[in-house]
């Protein structure tokens, strides 16, 4: 649905993006993960048509996108990094204003606003001024404001940063629902758990470059794996080596810890245990998270 082809962006000499090529498919929730300053916001700004890339191009449904191309802008929705709304307007007024600015007539705008209020769970706060809202409510309002014109694509820049766990999960739920409604969502985050949870695909952006792209599962597999941590009696290395060879697993020593990695470790656990028999002092199985994978990846690339 959206393709980026070799996108570069320079801010007076500072290179914020280099050679970013990505393809975002219709209906997916695409996560863009990267530390602060990786270029996520820059990418969102380019995608939302607020500025042109220095080099490269963006295709939307196969058509080349130009910044400030009005037809393009009306087909995308934006949820900016900081919740944006008028603090002195109520939720209903904020949504109504956006509807009017997107060119809807009153008879079209009013039902749409009501729909969004209930969709975002803000109905009971609809007539309160937004400046009294909690950050979670503001984020939901901000998301609803970005969707007023029912765009097929929504860009969200770090929507969950600064939210408490409850607000975060309610926002996740909204985002997942979006994809259920057939919307394409591009969401940036530096929260790996979140990406793991809701994204169908993920790109890892470091210093303006896309390092990896794939499903969370693939990324995890690529960047790291589940690990089995063992403590053995002295002289049990031979047994470990033969068990691992038989089961197709790799092992290595990290200090006085033996680390076993490979496919489907939980399924092979009984065999490992019986193979090591009496020399097994302690066993600990750790499922890898995206966070682990990412941190390890960052260590490897020298960040």
């Amino acid at each position: 649905m959206i393709s980026l082809l070799g996108v570069d962006k320079e801010y007076d000499g500072l290179r914020a993006l280099s050679g970013v090529s990505l393809s975002i498919e219709e209906g997916e929730i695409f996560g863009l993960i990267g530390p602060n300053g990786a270029g996520k916001t820059t990418l969102i700004r380019i995608l939302s048509g607020r500025m042109d890339p220095t080099r490269g191009e963006i295709l939307f449904q196969g058509e080349k996108v130009e910044a400030r191309h009005p037809g393009y802008r009306s087909r995308i929705g934006l949820v900016p990094q900081d919740p944006a709304c008028y603090g002195r307007l109520t939720a209903r007024e904020n949504l109504g204003l956006m509807a009017r600015l997107y060119g809807m007539g009153r008879e079209e705008a009013v039902p749409r606003v009501e729909e969004l209020l209930s969709w975002s769970g803000l109905m009971e706060h609809a007539d309160r001024q937004a400046r009294h809202f909690s950050r979670g409510m503001l984020q939901r309002l901000s998301l609803a404001m970005g969707m007023v014109h029912s765009p097929p694509v929504i860009f969200m820049d770090e929507p969950t940063s600064g939210l408490d766990p409850e607000a975060r999960s309610s926002l996740w739920e909204l985002i997942s629902r979006l994809s259920g409604e057939g919307k394409t969502v591009l969401v940036t985050t530096h929260n790996m758990e979140e990406a793991d949870h809701i994204c169908s695909r993920i790109a890892i952006l470091v210093k303006g470059r896309v390092r990896e792209v794939g499903s969370p599962r693939e990324i995890k597999g690529l960047l790291g794996a589940d690990r089995l941590e063992l403590r053995l009696e002295n002289g049990a290395e031979g047994a470990l080596s033969s068990v691992c060879g038989r089961l197709g697993l790799a092992w290595r020593r990290e200090g006085d810890l033996y680390v076993v990695t490979g496919e489907n470790i939980p399924g092979k656990l009984p065999e490992v245990a019986s193979g090591l028999a009496g020399s097994l002092r302690d066993l600990h199985y750790r499922e890898v998270t995206l966070e682990d994978a990412f941190l390890r990846f960052m260590r490897e690339v020298g960040e």
């Binding site: 048509g49 802008r73 934006l78 008028y86 956006m98 009017r100 600015l101 997107y102």
Partner: protein
Amino acid sequence: MRGWTALFIKDGKLILRNRLLLVVLVIYPFLIMGIMGAAFYDAGRPVPLGLVDLDRAEEGGIAWLGATTDEVPALERRFRYRAVRVEEFGSCEEAEEALSTGRASMVLAIMTDGESPRWLGADLTADQVELTLEDVREASSMRDYSSFQEALEPRGGERNDLVLALREKEYPHIGESIWLDKESYDASGLIMRFSSGVAEVTEYESEEEAREALARGGIDAVIVLPRAFVYRLKALNETAIVPVIIDQSNLVKAEFAETSIRGFLSRVKDGVAEEKMRAVVAGLYVLVTGGDFFGTEVVGLGQIRENLETIKGALADRPELAELVEGGIDLATTVIEDIEEAADYLKGTALPVELDISSTAGRTLSAKDAAVPALIALSILWTGVLCGAILMVVEDEEGMRERIALTETGPLALVGSKLLLATVVVFAQSAVMLVLAVAAFGVFASNALLALLVIAAASFSCIGIGLVIAAFARQVAAAVIMSVLVSFPLIFMTGAVYPLSQMPSFMQWLAHAVPLTYAIDALSGVMLRGEGLADVAGRVGILLAFGVGLLAAGSMLARRRDAG
């Protein structure tokens, strides 16, 4: 257009719900007009003046007169010639002593640059004193002083070439009075009569005392009436110099005092001139009717003609002599007719020339009237710039600019809707001010409807300034500070504080690059100078053009920022 109205409504709500803005926009007119009302509460109150009448100064003193002239040798010659015996003194003290003991009735000090004065004294008769004084007055301008020291170093910096001293009580015509409307007035009486209502006059014994009161701030100016003031007013070839001391530390106060003093002194002059003319006219009639002609009993021309008729009757038998007398009768008849005609003619011009001072607006303006147009214009600038800038920056601060940039709303709608809304608000605010000024404080506005039009155009252009300022500020606080920084010099540049005509030409040129200049000029034009629509149309057009230009600049800057 849908976008415009939506933004318009939104900003309206923002203003209504922003307490700070609301206070500025709603309370402001009342505050400003309240302050103005309080400031001018006592307006039109008489200017407090001090008066020193040297005619009334204590008895037994010495009158000092200083003169600036290049005819000193001639004057000295005439003085020596007139006096029987001239005595020379070594010092001021000696001369003063000779005056007080009566050895000399008049002393002349001849001042030569760099040398000590030469002192000449003589015992003159009253007539000789008067003649000498007249000599000096004819040759120079003369001023009265209260001491030799003062005459030696006059305050104005001018140097006297000649100083005269004589005993106060021998000063000719001192304390003389004048009859006006069947009442007699001496010098201070005249001032009191003509200054009533305009000034509140306090008399002081001496100039020193009056100067002290001036320094304390009890009075705004001091008038020193010279000796024989009334005589000098009456004498045909006299100009009375009236020293006026004004406290110039406060220019506005000084200006008020000077204007009112000039005003009533010219009325004194007119009153006296009228009286003089009456006397001349009466004298002319006396020539015909006979009677007291300026102190001399004369036989009237009418009587002379009658006498000639009698003589002619008696000479009936001497036709050649009767014919001679007949010529005299004809001449008398012609002269009588001419005199009567001349007197009638002069009587016509002797009618009081009353100055009917009024403004072009058709009514005398008070300081309060004059202050209001500038006050309203300044308030338009201040609130307009602030309102425009804040409305723009609030949007930025809330992060909404990015959002709006993605809708179909262009920068023109974004900026233009604010301009229109703020114009409506600032217009309403200033209209309230105008109404308050007129209704509550009786301020004059010759054409209030046209004033509203000017106010609208002025609001439009001043808000434009705020829109441009907003492009350089990201937070409301920064916008407020920048508004102050920009408005303040603009206020000075428009001539609201200091008259434009007093500024160098490049400043005047610069002033015409500031919309407020046109706003103040047009507003005072329609309120005070009775200007009509055709007169101010040009300036209103310029104000609107400024607004449109600033709107274009504001939209361009907004577009550039949104692209960044």
